[in-house]
Each structure stands twice: as C-alpha cells, then as structure tokens.
Amino acid sequence: MTVTEQQATFDSRQAFADELIALAREDERIVAVCNDSVGSSNLVAFRQEFPTRLVNVGIAEQDLVGVAAGLANAGKIPFVCAAAPFLTGRALEQIKADIAYSEAHVVLCGQSPGMAYGELGPTHHSIEDLSWVRAIAGLDVIVPADPVQTRAAVRWAAASGRPSYLRVPRFKVPVVTPADAPFEPGRAVLLQDGDDVTVIAIGSLTSRALEAAARLRADGVSVRVLNMPFLDPLDEGAVIAAARETRGIVTAEEATTSGGLGAAVASVVATHRPSPMRILGVPRVFAPTGDTAFLLDHFGLSANGIVAAVRDLLGHD
C-alpha cells in the first residue's frame, strides 16, 4: 500500500487562487499581473471580484515582469502569474535587474512548473527555473510541496517585503505537511525521523519520498525525510545535521540536477560535512514525449527511484 493510494490528491493551483483572493480582500495593494494566462493561472475568479486589479499585459513576458516592478514602485504588491518556463526563461534579465537587484517586492509565481506540461514538451517544461533563479542574489525561492504550503507561501511572500519566486504546483499530490509544521525561510520541515539515510525532497517529490521511506522501513532501513519549502534561503543546519547523523543524503526534485536542490545541498555538505550523496532530478537532457507521471518515472523521480538511490548509497544490491 502506498501513500498516494491512501490519500486524496490535490492540484495546488486552486489553493493558490483561493488564497490570493482571500489576501486581496484584506489588502488592496494586492494585484495580479499576467500574460494572457488568466485561465492557466486560475485567475478567473480573481478577475470577477477585482476586475481592475488584474493586469493582463498580453503575451509579453519581459513587459510582464517590468510592469510588475513598476507597480511595486507605485505601492502595489504584484503577484506575477505566468507559466514558469516563460516567466523565468524569457524574462530572466528582468527578474534579475528589475526585481531582485532593484529590491522590488514582487511575487513571481511560476505556474505549472517542472514537467507539469508533460506532453507539450521541453519548450513548456520548467526544469531549469530553480538553477536560474538560485543564481540571482536577493530572491527567495519557494517550492511548495502541497496545497498547505502553497497557501502559506502566498501569505508569507505577500508580507515579506522582499522579492520571491514561488513555484505553484500543478501535478496532483497528497497533503504532506503536518498541521504544526513551520513555514519560515531557512527552516526545513521534518516529515519523518530516521538514522540510516536522509532523503531531502521538494515539491512533487515530497510525497514520493515519504512513500519510499515507508517501503524502506518495511525492509529495516530507517529514513529521515526532510522537506525544504524554502530552497533559498536553505536550512543549512538541517542539511549539516543530516550529514552528521545519517550515512548519506539523497535529494529529489522535479528540476534539472545542474543547480537546484541537489546542487544547493551538495554545496553545504561538501563545505561543512562531506558525506555520500545521490542527486535525483532531470539530467541535462531534453525530455522525451510523455505525460508528467510517465516522465517523473522515466527519470527515476518515483518512490522506486528513491528506494534504489537509498540502497545504492548504502551499498545494498
């Protein structure tokens, strides 16, 4: 029996849209800015309630991000809602110069991130986004794992006074966040304690990590499962403790392995407490055709893949 079989699953876009509307009712500075993405960003209800507070710049991502920076200058708190590949890819220099370097309090909401647009192919996949935005100073990077974290992220980013990039999950996942879990920058969520190996997972891979841990426990392997809602700032203390207290670390993310979670954790581990690691993600290849679930399995981003990585790290056959 698996975790995903036991539990209902959710597309977090609805939680995102509901929370944004709730926030907009409380704070008139909240505006949504989109690039013809009213439907795909789930902003129809927002537009109905706040017609003038939804700015649609059309299919123009550079303008999208620049306009958001200007709205922030005018005292607004803009939530930029656009498909993650185009938001981060087309407008990366605007994210760097107009938002991060200019310290504009804008929330960049990457919709349908990772391989959520499965069959549409690599033009529509956003697996590079975490590598790109992590390279930019002054930008918080939030990767919610479920609807609970998505709601918390919307609230936190609106109040932070700082620029942030928020990946809005689309792939259906169960709720993994305990009711008392913290949602703070630089703070990991301990989902399960263990002392043989640590699995650190973010976003869609979190529930899969829990499923892998359950299977390994049945085989007598004790797995610590950590989730990092904030990829930046990262909970370095939790990473160092994991390296010290368990025999190695497996990271899992729906992103390229070149610069996301795995790279961030590896940098901390190599600097403070060298320890064996396995980094699960999409290697530097363009994905073949397939739906999201197929592609995740294809790249080993599955409970099976995580189990295999843990066994490999422990030297098991």
């Binding site: 059309g58 550079q62 200007g70 709205l71 200019s102």
Partner: protein, 293 residues
C-alpha cells in the same frame, strides 16, 4: 542611500519654481546655465573616473535638466515621497548625466560626484536605486526602464493618483523588443500620465542607428502604436518644456527629442567614437573651456 544636500535642495525648489512660474525667456536662460554646469560636471567625472559614456551624457543633459527643473514634481529631501513624479533613465549608461543632475538638485552632495565609479562608491557605472536617491529602478541593461515606467503609470491609474511618470530612452535602445511590448501595454491601458522621451542622437555604440538597424519612420511607428507623438529639438529648452506638458488626448505621449551626441563640445559632436571614449587631459581642458563659454 546617500543623504540629501539641504542647501542645494532649498535652492532647487526656488529655482524650479521660478522656471515654472516666471517669464519663458528667463526660464530658458536659467535652464541653459544649469545645463552648462551639469555638462561641466560630467566632463570632470569622466576625467576623474577615466570611464563613462560621454557622448550620450552630453546629448541627454538638456532633457534631464528640463525634466528635473521644469516639469517633475520632486522633493530631493524626501526622495521616496509617495506622491512624487517618477523619473526613469532607461539609458542607464548615461548615469554620469543623471548623477550630475541629481546632485545639482540636492538629492545628494555635489562632492559625491568625485567618487563616480571609484571602488565602493554609491555612484556605480549604472544607477542603483538602493544607493542613490532619485533613482526609481536599477537600469543599465537596455530595454528595461520603459516597462517599469509603464507599471508605475499603471499603479497611479489604479489609484486615481495624479502623479506622472517620465522615462528617457536612448534611440538605439529602441532596437530592444521589450520597448515595443511596453508601447502596446501603455497604449492599451490609455496611460496618459506616462511620457516617453527618446534621446534621438542617431548614433549608437558602433555606428549610426540608421546603418545598424534603422528606426525610421520613428514617429509613424509610435503613432501606429496609439501614441501621441511630439517631435522637438532636444536642446531647445522652451520646446522641451512645451513637449513635456501632460497629454491632452488621453493617450500616452512620446517626445522624440532630436539631439546631438556630444552636444556642447565641438570636437565630440555627432562623432561615433565619443560613445565611450575618454578625453585626454588636453581635451578635457578644451571641453571645459568650451562648456564654460
């Protein structure tokens, strides 16, 4: 952020009020005097730093002086005052001209200009709003200022506020596609409080704009995008003041300011090599003498 110069900002308030309320011929004389001083500062800054974009600095000077002294509603001692007009220099490589203008207005002390591009100076080669009062967004990469200014004007429109936004673009910069995205957005939203000024000096880094990627018919391009087009001599202060008046059509306004790169220093004028060439000591002396006349 650099502190304001209270003495200069008090003088700025007085001078700019005189320019706005006095006789036009007196205003022009005053603006020309200030432009001359700003240009001399620019030459000295670039001489000291041995770096800078002198040609574009000198072409945009009159536009900056007309905007700051004759048009914009600003308070150098309260640079983030909510009701201020927003000014964006999208051609951020002409930071020396902006810094010189801001210092003359009292946003910070003129002595700070001596640090231009020196290690750890607030006065980077391109303007930084965190360090320099009077800067609204960090520019330098071309094609960024106009979309940001569009967002400012949109924010004012959402609030029903009366403050306006002025953004200055280089002409070569119009080759960046992001500008045309913003041109469509501003026209679509009827952002009549937004004014774009194009420093039309017809030269870019390597050659003439028209040889590199031609911009003409420039006015027709903007008209077809739904803008009110005003074309003026960008060194004629009276014409600039008139052109910088608010839109009366409900459409955003673009001022095509025809300028001369290197304006005011005869051996630099309209010569492509003075995009970012640094003058020799003798050339600095000659330039300052000419600008002081």
């Amino acid at each position: 952020m650099l502190p304001a110069d209270p003495t200069r900002s008090a003088a700025y308030r007085e001078i700019s009020q005189r320019i706005r309320e006095g006789r036009p011929e007196d205003a022009v004389a005053e603006l020309e005097r200030i432009s001359g001083e700003v240009r001399q500062s620019i030459v000295r800054m670039i001489d000291r730093a041995q770096l800078g974009h002198i040609g574009g600095d000198l072409s945009v000077t009159d536009i900056l002086v007309a905007c700051f002294y004759g048009v914009l509603s600003l308070d150098p001692e309260r640079p983030r005052w909510e009701g201020r007009d927003r000014f964006v220099l999208s051609k951020g490589h002409c930071a020396a001209a902006l810094y010189s203008t801001l210092a003359h207005c009292g946003f910070f002390h003129v002595s700070e200009l001596d640090t231009f591009m020196a290690p750890l100076s607030a006065l980077n080669g391109h303007p930084n709003k965190i360090k320099v009062p009077g800067v609204e967004t960090n520019t330098g990469a071309l094609g960024h200022g106009f979309p940001v200014a569009t967002g400012c004007a949109l924010g004012a429109q959402l609030d029903g506020a009366t403050w306006r936004t002025v953004v200055v673009l280089g002409d070569g910069e119009l080759q960046e596609g992001s500008n045309w995205e913003a041109a469509m957005t501003a026209a679509h939203y009827g952002l009549s409080s937004l004014t774009v000024v194009i420093d039309r000096n017809r030269l870019q880094q390597g050659a003439r704009t028209e040889e590199t990627k031609n911009l003409e018919p420039l006015g027709d391009k903007w008209r077809s995008f739904g803008w009110e087009v005003r074309e003026v001599d960008g060194h004629d202060h009276l014409a600039l003041l008139k052109a910088l008046e608010r839109s009366t059509t409900g459409r955003p306004v673009v001022v095509i300011a025809n300028t001369i790169k290197g304006k005011g220093v005869s051996f630099m004028e309209d010569r492509v090599e003075w995009h970012h060439k640094v003058p020799s000591a003798e050339q600095v002396t000659a330039a300052l003498a000419e600008l002081a006349r």
